[in-house]
Symmetry: C2
Subunit: 200 residues, 2 copies
DNA sequence: ACATGGTTTAACCAACTGGTCAAATTTACG
DNA sequence: CGTAAATTTGACCAGTTGGTTAAACCATGT
């Protein structure tokens, strides 16, 4: 599979849109990044918005798909929690730009996100029943699964979204220290969640 | 204190910039929102970027100032944690647009955030020593205060940032259900943090 | 060689944007 | 009142942007 022009454009668009957002991104910049003429962008994808929507839906879809899989595996409860946090953070490590990109679009056009989400459902039923079962057995505190998921995601995502702030406030601008901090997050978040579920 | 033209502009700019971001916001839109002529914007504030920077620094400053106070109060450890979460969520309830706004700017111009942050320090020394002390006394697990703060903020902020997604995925588009969920967050986050700190 | 179809380009355009400016209007004040 | 300063406006401009188009290019099959 050689690098088709279409592929070049999509890859370039992904980069530029991700770091600039829809409005600030320039078609010329995407063309330059792809090493082609600007008119070609319109030849393959009709308009800027069409191109953006395509790129965004693809990226978001892959992202959502990943965490859907993690949450829906048929494995023991605590393993699933640990697996989810590990897997989710792995995705973030591989695409650190992604959360900011998605948040930007959420902010710009919430309606599109909603319509996209409604077409793909995130089944948390299995996870839900696992929690009620563990709670009934007295293995964990009774908690709302929705809050639990939001807690996990929030703790995972925040340091990526707020990178420059944390970098300045906590680490005095040291990329090294920030990186070490991120490495620690996996264990920290797992410990926080699991300790919070134990019955004392 | 009557509504000066300058005040009108700043208020309008805050609204428009917050929901559109710098690039997508239009000076004409700000002028309309303020009910004045576009040229007046340039009369009072030289350029779009100057106006934006002013608005942004003011908003961010107030935000940071709020949480700085919460973290630095000289009160018992557990009270401080509860107070921080309550206070932080109160600020978010009053300015639900704020996190998205800040994230957007972080993404657009990280350097500015860094320079802004470096001029104001967030002293977590007091909080830090409180934690080590409580841990030494055996009252809580030994944890890294930086991770603890990031955990709290992450759990607080995320549902505001991801509102449309949660709304679609968890609540089937019901604003009512989303609102109830937010109301529960205070107790949920406090419980999660405090339970995770207890020693069994 | 040449005809055909998809691909690529340079040049161009209309619309919009931030910004300017001279004139008009309002305010402040002796 | 009168006038000078501050404020407000409509008209305008230069630069940029997404998008178009006609012509050039190139691979393919005949």
């Amino acid at each position: 599979m050689s690098i088709s022009t279409e592929g070049l454009i999509l890859e370039a668009a992904r980069k530029v849109f991700a770091r600039k957002g829809l409005e600030a991104a320039r078609m010329q910049e995407i063309a330059d990044e792809a090493g082609i003429n600007k008119a070609l962008l319109h030849y393959y994808f009709r308009s800027k918005e069409k191109l953006f929507e395509l790129v965004f839906r693809e990226v978001l879809g892959k992202f959502i798909g990943g965490m859907k899989g993690l949450l829906n595996e048929d494995i023991p409860f605590f393993s699933k929690i640990e697996g989810f946090i590990d897997g989710y953070l792995d995705i973030l490590f591989q695409n650190p730009y992604l959360p900011g990109f998605i948040v930007m679009e959420i902010h710009r056009n919430p309606a599109e996100i909603v319509s996209f989400m409604e077409s793909r459902d995130i089944p948390i039923k299995l996870f839900e029943s696992q929690i009620t079962e563990e709670a009934a057995r007295g293995n964990i505190r009774a908690v709302d699964p929705r809050h639990l998921v939001v807690n996990m995601i929030g703790m995972c995502v925040f340091p990526f979204i707020a990178k420059p702030i944390l970098n300045a406030v906590l680490f005095g601008g040291s990329q090294e220290a920030y990186r070490r901090f991120l490495d620690e997050r996996k264990e920290t978040i797992k410990a926080t969640i699991i300790e919070s579920l134990k019955i004392k």
